[in-house]
């Protein structure tokens, strides 16, 4: 085989054109890695919102909490369903919540967007979501007009600083008293207040959007589901909370991945042509050299492999640069509309080893494809080229 250092040094000797072609590959890999990271960030944020052995009850046919409604009398039936866990206070662990989206001005002045307002029995939150921590101010008082806001929305929308207030309807405002953290979950993109106050403000007394239920164990789920869904009159649907959240991100995630891949594939044609130009140039420039290698007895396949390898090395350099740049995106927060819930969710570009490997492999494949034709041309160089002046 032709020694690898031969390729390495040739890339170094032609460093300007190597860098140009590698950067082209790098930009494509960057776009791909960034969109995969975005998708991962979204999935993680939503995944963290669900916990095992928790079920969510919605109106049948509802994709999300917002259009769903569950009447209070159904809640009392849910409380006595089999498998429902009893809390430390002896009460069944059942949480009815009212969810609306508020169309609020963005703090950056770029129009409006939807923030999720979640009303809940505030005294029971701690038992249900122990990961929630107040990081500033204090917790909203149960039964009051106070709300706390998630860390990710506090600066995103107008009127969400501590001490500010938002009017829900005439003379029914909510007052921000604290900021909370929820282990990076999508709850951090929400505003939380008292369920009674919020639902009466919107004239939605006697029903909630969703009911969350802690079960004795994940095994208790099936029996619980059967019991709740059996009553057709209630028209309810039960889902494990984890599944609910992964479904919430389905559409948006599909959109991100489809768009990212489409763009990456499109762009990769351009970058592959860049690599091809460089490799063709390299082959033309080294015609005599290749002839000498052939004269010395190196086979066509050895030459072919050598040039393919060079092209792959070139793209891997680019891919690594692109991946590093994408890793830098990890510091950036991204807010977008979740198509399923119509509300905004803020999350971070999140890298995983798998994403990095995929991005770099993609770059390598581009090198193989872009280098293929030039490598064939190299392999076709007749040994007699060595003798030409």
């Amino acid at each position: 085989m032709v020694p690898v250092r031969y390729n390495v040094r040739n890339l170094l000797v032609r460093r300007t054109t190597t860098l140009f072609a590698a950067l082209g590959v790098g930009l494509v890999v960057f776009v791909l890695a960034a969109s995969l990271m975005l998708n991962e960030g979204l999935a993680r944020t939503l995944d963290r919102s669900g916990s095992p052995a928790t079920a969510i009850v919605l109106r049948k046919g509802s994709d999300s909490e917002m259009p769903s409604s569950v009447e209070d009398r159904a809640i009392s039936l849910i409380k006595v369903a089999p498998g429902v866990k009893q809390g430390a206070d002896g009460q069944p662990m059942v949480l009815g919540e009212s969810v609306v989206v508020l169309f609020q001005d963005l703090a950056n002045g770029k129009g409006k967007s939807n923030a999720t307002l979640r009303g809940m029995p505030l005294d029971r939150v701690q038992a249900f979501r122990p990961e929630v921590k107040i990081v500033e101010g204090r917790m909203a008082a149960p039964g009051s007009d106070e709300v706390v806001v998630g860390t990710r929305v506090v600066g995103r929308f107008e009127g969400l600083q501590i001490g500010q207030s938002i009017e829900l309807r005439k003379a029914r405002a909510v007052k921000v008293v604290g900021v909370f953290e929820a282990d990076g979950s999508s709850f951090e993109s929400e505003i939380w207040g008292d369920v009674e106050y919020i639902r009466s403000a919107f004239g939605r007394e006697a029903s909630v959007s969703s009911v969350r239920v802690k079960l004795d164990s994940p095994a208790a789920y099936d029996a619980f589901e059967v019991a709740v869904e059996r009553d057709k009159q209630l028209g309810l649907e039960v889902m494990p909370e984890l599944e609910f959240y992964s479904k919430q991100s389905e559409n948006t995630s599909m959109f991100i991945v489809a768009m990212g891949s489409l763009i990456a594939v499109f762009f990769s044609i351009g970058a592959m042509i860049g690599a091809m130009i460089t490799m063709y140039g390299s082959v033309a420039h080294r015609k005599r050299e290749i002839g000498v290698l052939r004269a010395l007895g190196f086979s066509r396949s050895a030459i072919m492999v050598s040039f393919l390898l060079e092209s792959v090395m070139l793209s891997i350099i680019g891919a690594v640069l692109g991946t590093i740049a994408a890793l830098g995106m990890g510091l950036v927060e991204f807010s977008m509309l979740n198509f399923t819930t119509f509300s905004e969710i803020t999350f971070q570009f999140t890298a995983t080893p798998e994403i990095l490997v995929r991005a770099i492999v993609f770059g390598g494949v581009m090198g193989v494809l872009g280098g293929f034709l030039p490598a064939i041309r190299a392999a076709r160089t007749p040994p007699i080229e060595a003798m030409r002046g």
Binding site: V101, G111, N114, E167, R169, F267, A271, A284, F342
Partner: protein, 392 residues
């Protein structure tokens, strides 16, 4: 022979590379045009949204309904608002196709008496309109939607309820066509009264929003304010704005994606510049000897630099031109047609704006020129002796 023709002849020096570069540039231009057209199609919603039609919604959240009696304050049943011409109301129903659940379209329960008066750009045959008004379970659908699901006049259609549970049966009584491109051609329009009568007592007599046209578009802001003042002392307050303003606000939610696409369209320009710069730099390297000869003949460094930049501009122009040439059939005929037909709700208007085409071509030429600057500079710094000595 002129200096320009010499620099154009140089392009033929390495045909394969020139073709690859032109194709690479063209593909970059195609991607750029595609992304930019998508962005502008999105924004076309804003540009084409009516300024003389007002939407009145719940002040705090669009998911909450208004009482039906608010509408009666518009149309004369309980009062009138000065400056409002005709008004109608709409309720978001959110039905889904029972099988193809993921294919989104807007199902709206409307006031059959007034809806098409407020939306004159949606045109339906008079006899069809009359038939629809007669049949409480009748529906008028957009032509794009009819095509999407293969529905035609007289079809019985069952949709799946989400907000309003259950199976909902309708009969297609009419198909509307759009006389303006800004219209969503995939709406499914049903009778509000049918919906209302089907609901339990406590949920009745609520509407999603009121849409009204104004007699004088220049007074739209004043009229909006007058409407909101009217309901200010009520339990539920309203927010009224022109369709255009509303659309603009909604785009705020998509701003992150739009911003990301914006950046991505610049990234492809970066890739293009790298390809161009690479080609030109390689050409300069290979022709060092040739440049040496030219310098020896008495050409000045500025001539050499002109050759190089001229070559870059020509390649940029060729690539940009080819890119536009393939963009029109691919983006407008292929993809645009598909999007308008299948995703008309998101992209009612998908064609390449002249400004995008001009920008793309301009970018190709300018970036090619910029990409040629560095090689041109180094070529102009060549020393005759070294240049002549270097072969290949």
């Amino acid at each position: 022979m002129t200096l320009t023709s010499l620099s154009i002849k140089n392009i033929g020096h390495n045909w394969l590379r020139t073709i690859l570069t032109v194709v690479g540039t063209a593909i970059a231009i195609l991607s750029f045009v595609l992304i930019r057209t998508t962005l502008s199609a999105w924004e076309a919603g804003v540009d084409n949204a009516a300024q003389d039609r007002l939407s009145t919604i719940h002040r705090v959240t669009f998911v909450m309904p208004l009482p039906k009696r608010y509408f009666d304050e518009f149309n004369g049943a309980r009062g009138r608002i000065d400056g409002v011409d005709v008004a109608t109301f709409v309720n978001w129903v959110g039905h889904k196709h029972p099988v193809r659940e993921t294919e989104f379209f807007a199902t709206l329960a409307v006031d059959t008496a007034t809806y098409f008066d407020v939306y004159p750009e949606m045109s339906v045959a008079p006899d069809r309109l009359a038939a629809w008004k007669e049949n409480r379970q009748g529906a008028i659908i957009g032509e794009a939607l009819a095509k999407q699901f293969g529905w035609s006049l007289g079809d019985e259609v069952t949709l799946l309820g989400t907000i309003y549970p259950g199976d909902w049966k309708y009969r297609i009584e009419g198909i509307y066509v759009a006389t303006k491109k800004s219209v969503d051609r995939a709406q499914f329009l049903t009778h509000w009264s049918y919906l209302n009568d089907s609901l339990p007592e406590g949920q009745r007599d609520m509407i999603g929003w009121v849409a009204s046209t104004v007699t004088d578009a220049s007074r739209a802001a004043d009229i909006s304010a007058a409407i909101d003042t009217k309901f200010d002392d009520q339990d539920v307050q309203t927010r009224t704005m022109s369709e255009k303003a509303l659309t603009m606000e909604f785009l705020g939610g998509a701003s992150a994606i739009l911003g990301a696409l914006d950046i991505v369209s610049l990234v492809i320009m970066g890739i293009m510049m790298l390809i161009l710069g690479n080609t030109i730099a390689m050409g300069v390297r290979e022709r060092t000897h040739e440049y040496g000869v030219l310098l020896a003949l008495g050409f000045r460094p500025k001539h050499i630099a002109t050759f190089v930049v001229g070559e870059g501009l020509t390649i940029g122009l060729l690539g940009g031109g080819l890119g536009l040439l393939i963009s029109y059939p691919l983006v407008e005929q292929g993809m645009g047609r598909w999007l308008e037909e299948n995703m008309g709700a998101y992209f009612p208007y998908f064609s390449i704006p002249t400004s995008v085409a001009a920008l793309a071509l301009g970018m190709a030429v300018v970036l090619a020129g910029v990409a040629a600057l560095v090689p041109a500079y180094s070529a102009s710094k060549l020393d005759v002796i070294t240049a002549l000595r270097r072969i290949g």
